[in-house]
Amino acid sequence: MTNLEIKNKIEALQSGLTFSSEDTDFLCIEVPKELLKEFLSNIKNNEDLSFDYLFALSGIDFGEDLGVIYHLESSKYKHLIQITVKTSDREDPSIDSIHEIYPAAYFNEMEAHEFFGIKFKGHPDLKNLFLPENWDKGFPMRKDYTDTNMLIR
Amino acid sequence: MSYFSDIINGTKTLLTGMRVTGGYFFVNFFTKRDVITQQYPNNIETLEMFDRFKGEVIMLHNENNEHRCDACTLCEKACPNGSIEILGDKAKDPETGKNKRFLVKHIYHLQMCTMCGLCIEACPVNAIDWGQDFHHVEYDRSLLTKVLNKPGSKIMSGIKG
């Protein structure tokens, strides 16, 4: 399926999405964070789309907004889309957890939580996976994090 | 009957495995011994590396103790780990009379180097290259910080500053 076909299918399925106009080899969609869970379960269970494989879940700091980028693949049709969710609240950012839809998201959400401080609503155990348990120096992957020990430049 | 055939087949697989290891044992024991390990610190003298081996970064000097580095700091900028520091200075060139940059110290922190080779690629005058030395054991980290230009060396004539 080409990007355009996927786009048409998804538009028919869900409204309120923003499609990026860039000409990349996969479709980029921005989803409002309220619609995320509903949208993901829709495209997962849709016969023609069947995005059942969470390829990657990356937290991201856009400078002002925080967000999460999901790369979903269909293990049947092998097509891939990129879904971006943003939240503008830097103090207490929260996004719905999708680990019930994609069990693979469980540890990835823990990672995004400790590095970006994004709270995933509905995640049962948001402890530190990589960082030490008593880490209190902020969220290392955010752009405004400064590390005095940084060796390079 | 699968009980007995299981025993027989199982034993057969075990004996096949023993034949493989046993074969190697007897070959190694009675005929020429095949050793794949190395007695490392003992064979330092005889070990030969491949010609592209990345042991460390060295600066090439000719017989007159001259190098080609004009302290342009491209290698310092290319290095991802900050393992190269260049101390340069400016002085009047006796020939042209202009101010020219020259190298005081090319400091190389081997302990931080990842052997990525970006500095050697970046060098416009091929002043630095790979060295073949592989034995970098020291008791103190600071001993791994090296000055690449030899004491008293100066820039080769003809290299643009």
Partner: protein, 350 residues
Amino acid sequence: MILNIFTDIHELLLGLMPENIVHITELVLIAVAYLGIFAILGLFLVWLERRIAAFFQFRLGPNRVGPMGLFQTVADALKLVSKELTGTEKADKFLYKIAPYFVITTALMSLSLIPFSYEIHAFDINIGLFFLTSVSSVGVLGIFLAGWASNNKYSLIGGMRTGIQMISYELSVGMAIVTMVVLAGTLQISEIVEIQKDGWLIYQGHIPAIIAFMIFMIAGTAESNRTPFDLVEAESELGAGFHTEYSGMNFAYYFLAEFVNLFLISSVAVILFFGGWLSPFGITDTIPFAGLFWFVIKVLGVIFIFMWFRWTFPRFRIDQLLTLEWKFLLPINMVNIVLMALMVWLGLTL
């Protein structure tokens, strides 16, 4: 002649002191001699294992201390002696300290029963084999205690695995021995060897004896905690198993005892199946002390098979270990005993 060396010593001592003191002195001398044998055997077998493993694995093995690295293990032992003894704070101190001695004492006691040749045989009683199996099963207690008293979960798992393993495999070793005792008709070790002058027992008992030998080899590997039955140590699962918390000489005791146990199991195999110190076809039976040569050669042969196992096979899982014993070895063993008894009764032995 060399044959009279023991009587010479006896008479020399008699000339020096009263008779009952002579007996005690001789006992002490023999004990010291066996301690020496114990240490040398252990160290030699460790060296042998490492050398043989090197041949299997394309390595060199120990080759720096002494000719062919022969003194490497001596150097290792010296290092272990000089090391600090560390242990866990919450260990059960008394049991923790006493545990290694269980293992070495039993190994040493069992060693006294082994006839190195017709002449060198410290302790030849009429229930020899029975005594040997009983004593060697006490050694398990040492491993079990070590696992328990270390107060370390890895050790505990190792210790519990030993318990399970030993209870199971004692049976198979015992029954394989019983099978051969049925054939030999005696428990006294010297008599068992003497019987084999007409042909080794593995030849006399043919089919059931060969089956018994195979079972004995499998169960013997398990008894001496070697691969594929080294679940007690299982370094990829438990780190070091029961001796995780032992260091220095305490660790060395376990290490040496393990190898002496290997020697014991192999010697029993040689005594029961391959005619002990007897030479093949009786070619050197008249020469004194030649038995020692043959005995050592045979034992080394059996030990080599054990080492071959170790450097080839993967390890069992604990439930598979039990399945092998209770579903395969034990039923076969029971049938085998009956078969052997029938053979002896019908006079079908060779």
